[in-house]
Subunit: 281 residues, 4 copies
Amino acid sequence: MKKLLTTALLALTAALTAGAQSRTEVYTFPSEVLGAEKSCTVYLPDGYDRSQESYPVLYLLHGASGCHTDWTQKGDLRRIADEAIAAGMARPMIVVMPDASGEGPKRTGRHMGYFDVPGWDYERFFFEEFMPAVEKRYRIASDKAHRAVAGLSMGGGGTAVYALRHPELFGSACSMSGLLDMFPGRRSYDNAFQQSVADNSPVALLRGMTAEQLDGVRSVRWWVDCGDDDFLWKCNVDFYTLMRERDIPLQYRMRDGGHTWRYWQTVLPDALTFVSNGFGK
Amino acid sequence: MKKLLTTALLALTAALTAGAQSRTEVYTFPSEVLGAEKSCTVYLPDGYDRSQESYPVLYLLHGASGCHTDWTQKGDLRRIADEAIAAGMARPMIVVMPDASGEGPKRTGRHMGYFDVPGWDYERFFFEEFMPAVEKRYRIASDKAHRAVAGLSMGGGGTAVYALRHPELFGSACSMSGLLDMFPGRRSYDNAFQQSVADNSPVALLRGMTAEQLDGVRSVRWWVDCGDDDFLWKCNVDFYTLMRERDIPLQYRMRDGGHTWRYWQTVLPDALTFVSNGFGK
Amino acid sequence: MKKLLTTALLALTAALTAGAQSRTEVYTFPSEVLGAEKSCTVYLPDGYDRSQESYPVLYLLHGASGCHTDWTQKGDLRRIADEAIAAGMARPMIVVMPDASGEGPKRTGRHMGYFDVPGWDYERFFFEEFMPAVEKRYRIASDKAHRAVAGLSMGGGGTAVYALRHPELFGSACSMSGLLDMFPGRRSYDNAFQQSVADNSPVALLRGMTAEQLDGVRSVRWWVDCGDDDFLWKCNVDFYTLMRERDIPLQYRMRDGGHTWRYWQTVLPDALTFVSNGFGK
Amino acid sequence: MKKLLTTALLALTAALTAGAQSRTEVYTFPSEVLGAEKSCTVYLPDGYDRSQESYPVLYLLHGASGCHTDWTQKGDLRRIADEAIAAGMARPMIVVMPDASGEGPKRTGRHMGYFDVPGWDYERFFFEEFMPAVEKRYRIASDKAHRAVAGLSMGGGGTAVYALRHPELFGSACSMSGLLDMFPGRRSYDNAFQQSVADNSPVALLRGMTAEQLDGVRSVRWWVDCGDDDFLWKCNVDFYTLMRERDIPLQYRMRDGGHTWRYWQTVLPDALTFVSNGFGK
């Protein structure tokens, strides 16, 4: 019996890992801006360790109450990326998963989020320290044409804001089930995170842009995806509406589903294909 | 050579028609309400002619400038239905494709549309004459649980209005790229069709409904689908928004694409599956 | 902060559980045939507890080294079924997940499998005790037209064999990444499980059938699915080949992927749609 | 009325052609090898006329009884390519659709096919005259990394043979519903085409290859797709089997469907994505 199972499991393992010599690692470094250590998880595709090439990069952001290991542990990132690349549906790329978790066991403490809040300049850290450090440490083709950003929920909001404010840095931006405006129905803010979501609303940002700024936004390839049952449906529909009214090309999808990992695992392969076809352009 | 090709083509034909003894026919009858003859195309599934069973029915509506043969000639209805049924993705059903074309070579004359206009009570004709006649002529299970309506563009508008006004008649309603509100940007109406679209706006109808009427609307299974590049995107987003705000369950999809037969051919299999799973409920 | 998150999480929870008053439970009973207690996990769809109706049933089988909780814990069965039913892509049904695990921490002991082995008549138990008990305990429409069987890997083999031997019991059968013949490359058997796989090969069974038996097999709606990277590809291709040569209608799919839960989670919605459209026929 | 429709149609046209300044043209030139003029249809993507860049190229082959206009007229090539590129699912590329039609009104005369037959050296013409001429006339990045070949039915056979014989020329090869072995069941050949299919069987070619030749074949990215209802299923399954046994990586898909344009229109977007992700590698 053992022999049989061993044989089968070995065959299975071989089959599963064939062409999947990708790996993930955690990179931790001290941030001066934040006065703290921050970690990220990095996916290095099959072939990275055997080559001297530079690779395009995707920054992939987690949601509220999550951390830098979410996409690998709950999102099946490694398998999905391996399969998409092996099947010729995506290009080999490095995926960098930063950490914007807050304090506490639920990771929802006051440092949660992708924006600057009093005493915690996360956005400044991201652009001044984190991106340069990561792109130096790994062989990353460090230009707009080879850089994309994507994220889910709170990270979809981060994605949209980062690409709206820095269209010169990102070739593509993919928001999945994004928190693209202040929380639905909320009109007063009793804490820093809430205030920061209101202060950094992609919908509001877009609405206030000049013609010149909108030209910049048009230089980004946009993908916005949200389930038809998602509780964040309204801000996604509003963002789509504004983008169409401002005549900014975007891909917009609503599929069946809610605010779930199942949804994000379904969307991720399309997002990888989308950013892949933008790399180098 | 001929032999070879003959052999191949026979094999091919056999393969294609295996299990596809469906057929379509045109049924024409004189309408008293309209004072004119009207035709429809009817799809009868494989097995219909060999059985005594009653079948569920889907009314499938064409768009502006079209006619009752559109879905079969441009929409590949017969092949798509044959394949969906043979593959176990849809139930055998009768598909009735009525005609709401207008006069003239472009079929855009003043009788175009699914609503009543002065001198041409099409909606009255549909419910008082057409549906009863068709459901008498064919073996149709004639109740809400076995009746669905779907349509594209102008026919998507017809679909929504018919199901909003007669939730007791339709178990499911599927609007594809529907004209669900007055034409975008238009505020004055210089002809009867235009006026009829404004007078029969699904968005306006829904907005004006009482709690009791909304309960009726909830008894219909709704599917609304519109391409993210469609020029009718706004009224679809508005309809979805209202449905969510009124707490009416619906399936809503935005895929890639515009106002094209390619889009409708892509949506149709899902719509057939959706109505199939509602039949009998 | 807490307030905000609480609000958000409540909204989220409400969104996720809307229309999802399904539940799963474990049912354990003593088997005389086996001389042991066996458990199964049962999915009861939204509406079950509020109605008096009978429901169709799907028996859903796990793979080698697994147990009756696999489909819910690793396969996301409850969410996938909830979503498929809510979206109108499947009919409400009861899903019964039996247990064919073996002894030991890896569950690969000598009682593993869906067939009779010396001292452990699992197949007899399944048909004589288990099915009758389950269909008595739950409101199940207990006939071929409302009964389907499906399974993955070792459970795909079980699915095929059960439906080949008992076509009068199952309306539909779906094998996913099925072990449909003896283990690839193996010619001698050094244990009971291995021998039982060889003795109960669907490919061998099918090859030896009389014309009359094949007629019975044609009364089952077949769905066979296997990833193009699966290590069990060969026996799936062989089974498809035999079915076509014997002129037995089947749906056959090869998608991208290997022998993984990601594959089965992708296939499951289609399988639910497929069995749904067969129920009642 | 006219105004309304005009407005609507203009909006529609604008929507449909937005970002779709692609075009197709027919290129005809005299072949010395064949002693005849041959034409091809060429798709030039949006942006081609405004840039000086070189583009990757896909050679896209028609089937038996077809000609160089098939993919545009029956396959909706232009719309599908426009949409795939605009949606970020494929890279801008030139698609060259050659002509391998035979004589006569059914185009099945003795010159039909992609191989050399007595008095008509089509394969020699393709590689010595046609490819060089086309890649000189258009701005094509003329190397293996930027060149792909694909085709349906008889053209799927041509695709496989061309890539098996010239792995140094093609980065990717996609066979759809390919005629990958001699006609099923046929053992004697009563004409040149039939003989040429037998003489140029991809299955036979592959089976006879040396280890060195197989290494070459591994340098091509392979995609093989065939409907589960296709009458050519057997040779596709055989080709897949051989490729797996020879340990040559390939993507293999079987979806629902037969030997139909609907199938090829469904496969084409995936094929475009697949070749896109190979360009430049």
